[in-house]
């Protein structure tokens, strides 16, 4: 009866539950955002680039649910449609970064020697390169389209994955099952593909959602500096950027809704990532 009075030096068996709450909340947010993105045209009567001939900066309510912006475009519609670009770029960029980073990391980690040295120096160089300058340079080089932004943000993130996977592979390659595979006559590529790849992705799966959130913030930052998505394509960062003066003037609706959308979406990724991380840690114990 008195057992629960016992003082456990460390608490935390409920970790699993909080992790679950985090994962569910984050997941739900992202699903809602994704649905909003998919069904954006159905949820808004205005097109995202449609200009209201009656003027700009209409207050929320009436014709425009969340008002209109300085170009006379419907804020609500743009916030919804922007989710397509933001989510799309963030997820594609992280996916690309994961693929490239994993490949490099695995080669470096498993082959070791000069391959490792060479690849890791390249990764060092890219990582030492200031994020924004790299992003700016790539986007200036390639222009600001969807694909190019994906490449830009992937280029910024890939080195981290290469490092992560390399570290993981260096641990894994000492595992007995790798020795077992070698003695079973598996080829180098076979070992990498069949044994190292599936097992080295565990930490990647945890980091990737957090990274998606970060990618969205980078994208918004680039757009804020005018180097991201070109107007009039709806994108949260550029919408916030265009709306900053309006906030100062008390016209909150041009900048606050995209800001909140961005916040909520990044938070969704953060919650999901935090939850996954917590669950992974709980499992490790």
């Amino acid at each position: 009866m008195a057992a629960l009075e016992m003082v456990p030096v460390v608490s935390g068996s409920r970790d699993g539950r909080f992790a679950k709450i985090l994962i569910w909340t984050g997941g739900t947010i992202l699903v809602v955002v994704a649905l909003a993105a998919i069904f954006a045209p159905l949820l808004s009567s205005w097109g995202p680039k449609e200009i209201d001939p009656n003027g700009t900066l209409a207050a929320p309510g009436g014709e425009h649910l969340l008002g209109s912006d300085g170009n006379g475009m419907d804020v609500w519609s743009r916030v919804l449609h922007a989710a397509r670009i933001d989510l799309g770029i963030a997820i594609c960029a992280v996916a690309l970064a994961v693929v490239v980073g994993t490949l490099l990391g695995m080669l470096a980690g498993y082959l070791g020697g000069w391959v490792d040295d060479g690849l890791m120096r390249i990764v060092d160089i890219f990582q030492a390169f200031p994020t924004f300058i790299l992003a700016l340079a790539v986007s200036a080089l390639l222009g600001g389209g969807f694909v190019n932004l994906v490449i830009t943000i992937a280029a910024v993130n890939a080195p981290a994955y290469a490092r992560l996977v390399r570290a993981e592979v260096r641990t894994l390659r000492e595992m007995q099952y790798i020795d077992a595979a070698k003695t079973s006559g598996a080829s180098t590529i076979g070992i990498m593909w069949r044994h190292l790849l599936p097992n080295s992705l565990t930490p990647v799966r945890v980091i990737a959602p957090l990274n998606c959130g970060w990618a969205m913030l980078t994208l918004a930052g680039l757009s804020f500096l005018g180097l991201g998505v070109t107007v009039p394509t709806a994108e949260w960062g550029s919408m916030i950027s265009l709306g900053t003066s309006d906030v100062v003037a008390g016209r909150w609706w041009t900048s606050v809704p995209p800001g909140l959308a961005l916040l909520v979406c990044v938070l969704g990724f953060s919650l999901l990532g935090e939850g996954l991380q917590e669950r992974a840690e709980a499992r490790r114990r």
Binding site: V9, A180, G185, S187, R194, P198
Partner: protein, 693 residues
Amino acid sequence: MTAPAGTPGREAAMTVSLLDIQDLSVVIHRPGRSVAALSNVSFTVAPGEVVGLVGESGGGKSMVARAIVGMLPNGSHATGRVGFDGADVLRMDPADLAAHRGRGAAICFQNPRGALSPTRTVGRQLIDRLVTHQKMTGDRAAESAKELFASVGIRNPGRRLEAFPHELSGGMAQRVMISLATGCAPGLLIADEPTTGLDVTLTREILRQFRHAADTDGRGVLLISHDLASIAEVCDRVVVLYAGTVVETGPAAKVLREPAHPYTRALLRSVPDVNGGRVVPTAGGMPLMTAAPHDCPFAPRCAHAGEDCRTARPETTSLTDGWSLACFHPQETALFAPQEAAPASPSDPAPLPDPQGGSSVAPGASVTADNAEQAGRVVLRVQDAHVVYRSRFGSGGHHALRGVDLELRAGETLGVVGESGCGKSTLAKLIMGLVEPSSGSVAVAGKTVGKMSRVERTRAQMVFQDPIGSLSPRRTVADSIAEPLRAAKVPADARAAKTEAALSRMELDNSILTRYPHELSGGQAQRVGIARALVGQPDLIVFDEPTSALDVTVQAQILDVIADVASDAGHGSVFISHDLATVRGFADRVVVLYLGRVVEEGPVDEVFDRPKHPYTRALLGSAPRLGESRTAEVQLVKDLDEADAATGCALAARCPFVTDTCRSQEQTLQSYGESRAACWRVPELTALIGKSA
């Protein structure tokens, strides 16, 4: 409220219990499931008494220890009473509990290197205890710490105080752990698996420390171990746990020699004996209890179980003075009756009749005459192999093997023994082509290992130490077993057929094929590992400590399987182990490795019964033997890590018979009778040992 150290004499203490556990049950509630970790456990420990708590993993041993210091895991629900010096630990308030921990009961943790804080010097950690529990101040504590270190056998304690845990060897860390626990001046000292992972030459020395604590300081000692045989000799009494219940309690000698409970008997018979006694495996594994059992938890595995065992739980009944057990069908026959009649001798290797109906493993006998014509084929030849692990920067490196020669024929089994760090695993990797020899050569079935094609490499197969870790976590069992076939480009349907055949030889069901490694028990995983080694019908199988990670009864099962596999005439086997007893079970010849060198080599019975080299003698002398306690005739003088490698004999630094010649001359293998040993003093040794004894 805490037991003052050293006050009560042993005799007086026996009457008063220090620890009095009554009807303790612990249920752990986790989301989705509950685990009955302990069910109605009762036993006592008196001051000055050493009590052994024995059982396999999952039996609830550690939970008892946690309950005693009031550190049950979250979600635990405990009932009953953990009486300590009159108070109930389960009902202590935080302040009392804080005072109780350490000063009342202190634990020596199982994995001492993990239990020492990595970022604090061991000296500081000891001083923390002294300051807290013995109210010492700085200088006094430092002085006292030095003394404590010295008393647990740490040489150069002043220097060791400044060491960080990672700088210590396993044995040294265990000594430090003991000093930390005794530094709390506890009434009750709890040692959780204190000798796991330690080399045999150290085990006895460590166990003696606990006996010492009980005898000289009058502490109660609770020794927790899975290995009844090894701790029995220092214990006054033992308590055997199975599935959270106490199945047998009694004086150590009684329980060891005449165990009455079938589980205790199974436990003891599962342990291979260095004298060549047989291993009798018990099928099945320990169940995970979700609630306190209503029947005998051992019944499903028990050969004597009747209907009563399956319907009601046996009460704990007292047999004689202090001996009690929970069983409807206590066994009274002597455990080793036949053996005691005919003590182990090399001239009598024939398999003994099996009274219990389990399959038996016949040591040495597996090589039978009908294999003789096959035996001509050499499957492994290692010639003067050296392996040096180079450090990445600069020169130097670790010389793991120094000039090893081996030859093995098909149908033969070679045992390789030695302590940790002797180069056993490197030898395995060398044979498998996982490391390159720095010089010398390795050939499997006549082909040099380094020059083999992928398919040829599969001619040698290995069974690994960590059964689950050697299976790729995200590959199914079927995938893992078939891997060597895949390399050999065997078509998919043939692969499936061969996989199933190998599996059925391992007595595993086909349903296991689609499972993943983490869904397997250790025993199942190791059977899968053996199936993988067998599936391609290799020329050579290397067993690298295949049972060291397994529980005792499971180990017996696996050894049984391995004995069967090793007796195949089609391939040769190399069996590597730190545990001499398991090697004796089925090797034809044995080599003893020490610091990368072969120090003794010969037919298994010759080496085990008439060891030549002082090191072999020390190893064999330290190995636990069921039912007898004798001190080793040769005791090494230092821990392995303190022995610095110098020229001359590798053992020189630790050998009690060392002379200047030993220190200056490299020793090579010389024939002494049927075996060979790398020691020039072999002829004088018998006399020398007699003198020192």
